[in-house]
């Protein structure tokens, strides 16, 4: 236990024990961040070794890639061609969904806002389906220009349009109504669902195979190619969010107060909506709609470390990644040797959790 006497650790432990009196949860949040970072690295590594081929020499394969030691061609292929893109996809998408949830909740000033619940994922899915089914009709020149980015871009525009419509409908005179938002989300989801259904009906067999996968929400189809098309969009959107932290905090006091505090509210709304649409759109493009990550993760964190976004957003990224990595590993063993789509796992955890928050916040919905 010698390390406990180490001054920094000791100070952290002391702050951890008596934070509530001070009302300052910054130290607690930083400690959590460090813990989550370690957990994330562990889960990433564990995810690489998790699967039917349990005898795979993961560390050997990683080392061999960087010229340390050697590994069999089979192990190299399992780790680098199959598990690595899948693991990275789960990490990036988990982070993107959790952060988008936190940003949406801050923007709508409501803990129940979630990209999946209010139809943004459905909008993004619709965009992706349009690209798959109708992409062939695009002029060859344009197709050559956007190329592999067509599906992520279409998903992004689908998500962006739904977010914008939703915000416009739910906000009147600077106030965003929760009930209007949830109802409009349901209507919007149904509408895009119907349009998606129509396109599915019109699709040919090859397209159908692509399409089936949207309904599921799965990281099993991950590949380096998909990761490379959507990953940069997601990372770009995630990098933008820390700049929103101060504005989201101020917005918790209401739009007029945020204005008084020197926040350009219209501008921050535009950036929030763009970043949510980009990260959810790109995520849906490569994994389909995975629900409830965006609602479970930020809510758990707020319970523990409070709502200050400067700490909430980075920790949501970390915990979101951990959550989806664990869900993905569960999805590989629950019905082994087959695999569950990971969306089923997150919904199984998230559904009851959402209900719990809903019941706890019932008073807020009756406004």
């Amino acid at each position: 236990m010698a390390f406990v006497s180490f001054p920094a650790v000791k100070r952290t432990l002391i702050t951890l024990r008596t934070p509530a009196q001070q009302g300052d949860r910054t130290a607690k949040s930083f400690a959590l961040q460090a813990g989550l970072l370690v957990l994330l690295l562990l889960m990433m590594l564990l995810s690489l070794g998790w699967g039917a081929a349990s005898d795979t020499d993961v560390l050997g394969a990683i080392g061999a890639k960087f010229g340390v030691g050697s590994a069999s061609a089979r192990d190299m292929s399992i780790v680098w061609d199959i598990r690595m893109p899948r693991m990275l996809t789960a990490t990036v998408v988990g982070a993107a969904l959790a952060v988008s949830g936190a940003v949406m909740q801050g923007l709508f000033r409501n803990p129940l806002a979630d990209p999946g619940l209010v139809g943004i994922s459905a909008g993004a899915g619709f965009g992706a389906v349009v690209a798959i089914v109708l992409g062939g009709f695009l002029p060859v020149a344009l197709l050559g220009l956007v190329g592999p980015y067509l599906i992520p871009l279409a998903a992004f525009f689908g998500g962006w349009a739904s977010t914008l419509i939703l915000y416009r409908i739910a906000t009147r005179g600077g106030r965003t109504s929760v009930i209007t938002m949830l109802l409009a989300g349901i209507a919007l989801g149904a509408l895009t669902g119907a349009a998606t259904g129509f396109l599915v009906y019109r699709a040919d067999d090859d397209q159908l195979r692509d399409l089936t996968f949207w309904g599921m929400g799965s990281v099993a189809g991950a590949s380096w190619f998909k990761l490379m098309t959507a990953g940069p969009i997601i990372i770009l959107a995630l990098v933008a969010t820390p700049f929103l932290a101060r504005a989201l905090d101020a917005l918790a006091l209401g739009e007029p107060v945020a204005e008084h505090m020197g926040i350009d509210v219209q501008r921050m709304k535009r950036i929030s909506i763009l970043s949510v649409a980009a990260s959810v759109g790109a995520s849906v493009a490569i994994t389909g709609g995975i629900g409830f990550v965006g609602i479970v993760v930020p809510h758990l964190l707020r319970l523990f470390q409070g709502p200050v976004h400067r700490m909430l957003l980075p920790n949501a990224a970390l915990l979101g990644a951990v959550f989806l990595l664990i869900a993905d590993m569960l999805s590989r063993v629950v019905v082994a040797p087959a695999e569950l789509p990971v969306g089923i796992v997150t919904a199984t955890v998230g559904g009851p959790f959402f209900l719990w928050i809903l019941l706890k916040n019932r008073a807020m919905l009756d406004v």
Binding site: Q21, G23, D24, R25, N110, D249, A250, A252, V257, P307
Partner: protein, 269 residues
């Protein structure tokens, strides 16, 4: 100097404010009073840009609407009448939000101490770890005041006065804390800052305000010192009730006692 020139606000068909002009000087506490619906809060919101209006609001000769949002937040802070907080912030976390508004003046360590100073000033020392949603209405109002104070802690910055705009700052408070808050406002003004407060309580106005603007039906009825504005004639006419004013020795300003609601023609019908 904060000036409002020819401010007109229209909600639908109804003119809530008609060509209102006034000036508020730094070093003074300017109170806006008037009956319900006379346009007090609307006038404050027109100055802060919260409600759309025609006419100009100028701070030291510059249009407030021409300033960047950060510059505005550096020059003035606004205490709203009431407000909800969307997430479970602790008192300290909420007051700290004032630190990141506008432009800071001090070193980091000095800034870190400000929320604690502000909480002590509003009588909420020891409340740092409480959750805002668990507080009483009056405590919450004082937490918001502490946040606003942190935003513009020094009443004068780089030679220009900063402004506190308060919308009914004492409406939810007990008499002890009413005095605490009014003294904070007066001290801010005496240190060179400017204060504009929308007030309901005429006696507190009389005690603390240097200048009173009496609104009636969207127009300025009278402007000047409390002695000049808070007269029997003015108050009976605007508020539609009989009042008696007199001047007890220690206060210096008029003291207003409501008498009967039946005085004014057109009010009892």
């Amino acid at each position: 100097m904060l000036q409002a020139k020819n401010i007109t606000v229209t909600f639908g068909q109804r003119q809530v404010l008609q060509s209102v002009d006034f000036e508020a000087r730094p070093g003074e506490l300017t109170a806006i009073v008037g009956p319900n619906g006379s346009g007090k809060t609307t006038l404050l919101k027109a100055i802060t840009g919260e409600v759309p209006s025609t006419g100009d609001a100028l701070l030291d000769g510059r249009l407030l609407s021409d300033m960047s949002s950060v510059e505005r937040a550096t020059r003035r802070a606004v205490l709203p009448q009431s407000g909800t907080v969307a997430f479970p912030f602790t008192v300290l976390e909420l007051v700290r939000l004032g630190l990141t508004s506008g432009r800071g003046t001090d070193s980091r360590t000095a800034m870190e101490a400000l929320p604690h100073k502000a909480l002590a000033r509003v009588g909420l020392r020891g409340f740092e770890g409480r959750f805002v949603q668990d507080l009483s209405g009056g405590e919450r109002q004082r937490v918001q005041l502490a946040r606003v104070l942190v935003q513009i802690w020094d009443p004068v910055l780089d030679g220009s006065s900063r402004w506190l705009l308060l919308d009914e700052p004492v409406s939810a408070l007990d008499i002890g804390h009413q005095l605490v808050v009014m003294e904070i406002a007066r001290d801010f003004a005496q240190a060179g800052g400017g204060v504009i407060a929308v007030m309901h309580d005429l006696n507190l106005t009389s005690m603390f305000a240097h200048k009173v603007i009496l609104l009636n039906k969207g127009k300025v009825q009278s402007t000047g010192t409390p002695q000049h504005v808070l007269t029997n004639e003015n108050l009976s006419m605007c508020y539609g009730c009989a009042v008696r004013t007199n001047t007890p020795p220690p206060l210096g300003g008029p003291w207003i006692l409501p008498q009967a609601a039946s005085c004014a023609a057109g009010f009892a019908e």
